[in-house]
């Protein structure tokens, strides 16, 4: 099964997903653009865009190891964090002008403490994310957004006006609409794009200057809507879990003949399932409402598990999914709990569920392949 497209755009997206700094980003940087990195899906990319800067979601692709970060993080910490901090300590993130960290999880929140002590990024800012969805918590996050807005304004001597925010929201929403269109193509019986390539497209959104990305994605979607399908798949799969930014992992899953047609991932469906309300008068209020209330939540959001489980069931219906694969990085407590809870929901709904554990840097492709193959076989495929 292969994505059959004549557009060169996909290749550029794939390259962007395999590196930190890509040519398009570098071009902007050389022209004097500022890049602000952020950890986690709740990072307010729109505010960074409104400041005239490029938001960059932190990944640890290409990390050679954790020799440097081992002095700070332990071997029972998430390998994503260990590798990301390692890249920071090694200087690979020297291109950042700022970094925003959120307390989304125990591992990431300590990146803030270690990073600001050891790595000379000009601005390292922490944001306090609520743990439940309520009017007061949305108000709390509204205040946090205002604080971070001011910090960026003061540090870089820029003014983030409401109009600039509205424009940024429009731009990011456009990304969301295009990504949704892309995923809609995968509802077909023979989708025109593989799961692995889709992940590359989604990851690229967090590493490319967004205006450019939108243009490229539009071209790709147009092309794919006319393309033939990837081929006969043994089963249609949904992947859910924590931070997964490596198309290779999906590729290994798909090498068994199963096709990943949708997902509930940080770099996937969660990004475009909802949109920011462009009609709200106060753009920051719109952001707060979107991130806390509307966007499919992370397991750290207390009380929202029923809605999260419902999203999986809805997607299974919408995309005619045969089986769900849940994956988590070892030592991730949030996803250990979430997968534990989801297991019951899927069992009740009669949806086959495979649970995988992994490290951030992929190892043991054969082992993943065996498990997925057995899963497909147990579904009679």
């Amino acid at each position: 099964m292969e994505t059959k497209t004549k557009s060169r755009v996909l290749q550029e997206f794939q390259e962007a997903s395999k590196t930190l700094m890509n040519p398009a980003l570098k071009k902007e940087k050389d022209k004097g653009a500022k890049i602000i990195g952020y950890f986690c899906s709740y990072g307010p990319a729109e505010i960074i865009t409104a400041a005239g800067m490029i938001p960059f979601r932190i990944r640890a692709v290409g990390s050679p190891g954790t020799d440097l970060s081992d002095a700070y993080l332990s071997n029972i910490n998430c390998s994503f964090c260990r590798n990301a901090l390692n890249l920071g300590l090694a200087g690979d993130y020297d291109f950042l002008d700022g970094l925003i960290v959120l307390n989304n999880c125990d591992h990431v929140r300590r990146i803030y403490d270690n990073w600001r002590r050891k790595i000379k990024t000009p601005l390292v800012q922490m944001m306090s994310l609520p743990k439940k969805i309520s009017d007061p918590s949305i108000q709390w996050y509204y205040d946090e957004l205002k604080i971070v807005k001011k910090v960026i304004e003061d540090k870089f001597n820029v003014k983030i006006t409401d109009d600039k925010l509205r424009e940024a929201i429009k731009l990011h929403n456009e990304t969301r609409r295009l990504q949704r269109k892309l995923y809609d193509l995968r509802k077909k019986d023979n989708p025109p794009i593989t799961g692995a390539d889709t992940l590359a497209v989604m990851v690229a959104a967090t590493a490319l200057p967004l205006k450019q990305y939108n243009q490229m994605l539009k071209e790709l979607v147009d092309d794919l809507s006319k393309s033939e399908g990837v081929g006969k798949a043994k089963a249609r799969l949904l992947v859910i879990g924590g931070v997964l930014d490596d198309p290779e992992y999906i590729k290994v899953i798909e090498s068994t003949g199963g096709l990943v047609v949708t997902d509930v991932l940080c770099f996937g469906t969660k990004n475009f399932r909802a949109e920011i309300d462009e009609k709200m008068k106060d753009p920051i209020a719109a952001l707060a409402k979107y991130y806390i209330a509307d966007r499919p939540s992370c397991p750290r959001m207390f009380g929202d598990q029923p809605r999260r489980a419902q999203l999986v069931k809805d997607l299974v219906k919408e995309f005619k999914v045969d089986g769900v694969i849940g994956q988590r990085i070892v030592f991730c407590d949030l996803w250990a709990g979430e997968i534990y809870m989801l297991n019951d929901d899927l069992k009740q709904a009669g949806i086959p569920f495979l649970k995988l554990e992994r490290e951030y840097i992929m190892a043991g492709a054969g082992q993943v392949r065996t498990r997925v193959q057995a899963f497909l076989e147990s579904m009679g495929r």
Partner: protein
């Protein structure tokens, strides 16, 4: 109808030939470093017993095991999880829980009446509970594998082995030997600790009788007894060498494919 199943593991390669729905020949060979070589050796040995000379004489061959992608004469490959389940079920139709203990991995499958896998749990990350573990322990006690099993059966006061890791367990064993502990008790303790691990895996998929052991280590009576103690149920004895369960399952699937083809052919 003659079909074949080929199970290429890290330690041994197995082949099973079925003629008209019965096992007509099988082989177990030591693995070489090249899976395709091992596969050929295993298959040709089994064929030899039937006087067959060419792979073409078989209607369909299915490959399985960790080297399954490298069996050049197999028309398709199926995971060893599915194959062991099918093989065990065919050998004893009352089996609902399969514990496969191979050279480098161990797995537990919960299956239905037809041998279809319902749930599975796999340990292929570490040696504990695999053939490698028993080889290492046999070396530490300076016996062979059969001797290790015999010792365990005689253990009256099994030692408690607390190390989770087989490498550390080996040091623990050496210490116990130096302390003068009975070899029977040490061996029994080792088998208990592996049985504990396996029983944990069994309970994860849900213990439903009958339970069967497959894979090379299934022939270890000491392990079977220790597992029975941990699970509180009897383990059924399979009528054939349990080590061929995977290859057998592969052959059964091969037979199915031939049947499906014939049915399609009839409809055409």
């Amino acid at each position: 109808m003659i079909v074949g199943g080929c199970d290429i593991g890290s330690t041994t390669g197995k082949a099973v030939i079925m003629t008209d729905g019965q096992i007509s020949a099988y082989s177990i060979v030591t693995s070489t470093t090249r899976p395709e070589v091992t596969a050929k050796m295993a298959m040709e040995e089994a064929m030899g017993y039937l006087g067959l000379v060419s792979m073409e004489e078989l209607d369909y061959i299915v490959g399985t095991g960790y080297g399954r992608l490298k069996v050049p004469f197999a028309k398709e490959n199926v995971s060893e999880i599915t194959c062991h389940a099918r093989g065990a079920n065919w050998l004893c139709s009352s089996v609902r829980t399969v514990v496969d203990i191979g050279g480098q991995d161990c797995k537990v499958m919960s299956i239905d009446a037809k041998g279809k896998v319902l749930e599975f749990v796999m340990n292929d990350r570490c040696a504990a509970g695999t053939g490698r573990f028993f080889e290492a322990m046999a070396r530490a006690l300076q016996v062979d594998l059969e001797g290790l099993s015999k010792l365990a059966l005689e253990g009256k006061n099994p030692a408690v082995i607390s190390s989770q890791c087989s490498v550390f367990a080996e040091s623990e064993v050496v210490t116990l030997v130096n302390e003068g502990r009975e070899l029977t008790d040490i061996s029994a303790g080792l088998h208990n600790s592996i049985a504990s691990r396996l029983s944990s895996m069994v309970r994860k998929v849900g213990l439903i009788e009958d339970v069967a052991l497959t894979g090379g280590c299934a022939k270890n009576e000491g392990l079977a007894k220790a597992l029975e103690n941990k699970l509180g149920v009897k383990v059924v004895h399979l009528p054939e060498d349990p080590q061929i369960a995977g290859a057998l399952g592969a052959a059964l699937i091969a037979a199915e494919r031939v049947q499906q083809r014939e049915e399609v052919g009839k409809k055409a």
